[in-house]
């Protein structure tokens, strides 16, 4: 109850598309003006009413993480991978067109003010979700190491952004054969040895999550993971987005849209 009533409002609005450009062969970057709906925290997401691309008709809205928010300017950015009907529809948007959206939704990342150094590890579209941690950590005076994983170097996103905020950035890719879990584990053990980790923040890879869970347990370091699941309502009403979590030894269902999308890393079942 307190939970519900304590949440800041989510806004149902018609956003105006300001820009929508291809970033690389797979990703596009969308900027919209959406007024009050721009007041979002890192890790929160929006439900986007994707327009119909020719010959297809996405029915449900599509969840998309906040990639960057400028609440003062009423502006929000998304970084999305074009995969199916919905994201193909998103890709047809031109500046000046409208996009129905609902947000910000869900519970985002929490930064422990006592932390001195955190590690953000993401892969693929998960890099978009981690992006806002760059500014948030800096604003909180927390140092950050970003380990960015992708299939190929040109698909690594958010690299410059983390670097600009003074983060140490390590990219690992399949094509360079340094993105496997064992290599990443070595990297992490190195950082842990340097005491550069008071918390893990991750998104986008079950394998990397497992590595971090092992280390989090071994070194008693807290962690948070942003998870994905197919959604319909985005407001905790329909129970289609549940995942299994291990809470104190019992497996329970939690709703990604409402109880997350950011969860305690140790509870998540990859």
């Amino acid at each position: 109850m307190t939970d519900t009533l304590a949440r800041p409002p989510a806004f149902e609005t018609q956003a105006a598309v300001l820009a929508n450009d291809r970033v690389n062969g797979e990703y596009a970057h969308l900027v919209v003006a959406c007024g009050q709906a721009a007041a979002a925290q890192p890790g929160q997401f929006y439900q986007l009413a994707c327009p119909a691309p020719p010959g297809e008709a996405p029915f449900l809205r599509r969840p998309m993480s906040l990639y960057r928010a400028d609440p003062a300017a009423g502006r929000v950015e998304f970084l999305y991978k074009v995969t199916g009907a919905g994201t193909r529809g998103l890709a047809t948007l031109r500046p000046g067109e409208q996009l129905g959206l609902l947000g910000p939704l869900g519970t985002g990342f929490r930064l422990d003010p006592a932390a001195r150094h955190i590690i953000a590890i993401g892969r693929g579209a998960g890099l978009a979700t981690l992006g806002p941690l760059a500014e948030a950590a800096r604003a909180a005076g927390i140092a950050i190491t970003a380990i960015l994983s992708a299939r190929r170097p040109e698909l690594v996103v958010s690299q410059a952004r983390f670097a600009e905020q003074g983060a140490r950035v390590i990219t690992v890719t399949d094509s360079q054969a340094n993105s496997g879990p064992s290599h990443v584990e070595r990297l992490l053990r190195g950082l842990l040895a340097e005491r550069r980790c008071d918390g893990f923040y991750t998104c986008g890879s079950a394998r990397l999550l497992r590595v971090q869970q092992t280390l989090a347990r071994e070194f008693s370091i807290p962690g948070q993971v942003a998870l994905e699941q197919q959604m319909a309502c985005g407001l905790g009403m329909c129970f289609c987005c549940v995942r299994d979590f291990n809470v104190g030894g019992t497996i329970i269902h939690k709703r990604v849209c409402w109880d997350g999308p950011v969860f305690d890393m140790l509870e998540a079942l990859p």
Binding site: L5, R7, E12, L102, Q229, C233, G236, M237
Partner: protein
């Protein structure tokens, strides 16, 4: 200023627009003012704790969605101690949807949740009746009669009976519910359906079968509501594919006194308040003093029953 209030059995609602069970929870308060709604309707609850169905639980299809959520339920104690107090925070009447695998189970649950703060009970009898080989109560007039009779004996609260569109004899089922003392009908639940991924050859729902909702079902459920409205005197709440105020008007014209909105809220969290405003404007523009004047106002020159070919093949 149209009078939007409607009477449903003993209950007066401030307006005829409410959520459909399973498509609403308190989370919607994050996006809209729940006090604007005609009523609040809970997700179906059961006595037992239930986990719900395997994933994926939803799939998109042409003009709608399939869902096989199951009924994840935290049981009666949770409802009484957590859900009910929570909803006291809002003004619209609270309608509690219930389900059980036997008529006795329905009755016991109805009795248990007949609590202060509950304005009406909606019996979701589209659930499998273990005494009838798993066939839903609402598939047949006889099984409907049995469960409604027991429910009626178990609670003094207004009793709404939610029908299934999967039966071939919905008007007879409606009559059975009326005869056994239901106060209102909800027409209808989702239509049983499936989808297969032609690439993986796998069903697109973890549960294989699921319920179709959304615009695709509107013409079917509208027909069923019309058939029910001609068969009974009970107030009927229309539910199925309503996305806009004009869709709601269609249901009212066919004979509904109120409407429930499900899938539309997933596509636009403000769907319900928008429909309420739209109904108001619709009535205003036509000089209707009350929204209830729309109920059953379809204009159809009655011809011979035979010409009308009521149950006849349309094609």
């Amino acid at each position: 200023m149209t009078d939007l209030s409607v009477r449903i059995g003993g209950l007066t609602l401030p307006n005829p627009v409410m959520p459909a069970s399973g498509t609403f929870a308190e989370g919607l308060a994050q996006a809209i003012d729940l006090n604007r709604l005609g009523a609040l309707v809970t997700k179906t609850i059961t006595r037992e704790l239930r986990a719900g169905n395997p994933l994926p639980r939803v799939a998109e299809v042409a003009g709608g969605m399939l869902n096989a959520i199951g009924i994840p339920s935290k049981g009666v104690a949770y409802f009484r101690d957590v859900t009910l107090p929570l909803y006291r925070g809002w003004s619209p009447p609270l309608v509690v949807s219930i389900s059980a695998p036997t008529a006795e189970g329905f009755a016991e649950l109805a009795a248990e949740i007949s609590l202060p703060g509950v304005a009406a009970i909606e019996a979701n009898i589209s659930c499998p009746n273990i005494e009838e080989d798993g066939r839903a109560f609402a598939m047949k007039p006889a099984s409907t009669a049995i469960v409604v009779r027991q429910l009626r004996a178990a609670t003094a609260l207004p009793l709404w009976v939610k029908l299934t569109p999967n039966t071939g004899e919905i008007a007879e089922v409606a009559k059975a519910a009326e005869a056994e003392g239901a106060d209102a009908l909800v027409c209808a639940n989702t239509i049983l359906a499936m989808a297969i991924d032609p690439h993986s050859f796998k069903p697109r729902l973890g549960n294989l079968l699921g319920g179709l909702s959304g615009p695709a079902i509107k013409p079917i459920v509208l027909r069923q509501l019309y058939q029910c409205a001609r068969a009974v005197r009970l107030p009927i709440i229309g539910c199925g594919g309503i996305m806009t105020a004009l869709d709601a008007v269609e249901y009212l014209l066919a004979g509904a006194v109120a409407v429930q909105i499900g899938t539309a809220t997933f596509l636009d969290s403000a769907a319900m308040p928008n429909i309420i405003d739209g109904l108001d404007r619709f009535c205003d523009a036509r000089g209707l003093a009350s929204v209830s004047e729309l109920t059953g106002a379809i204009r159809h020159e009655e011809t011979d029953e035979e010409d009308l070919s009521w149950l006849s093949p349309p094609t």
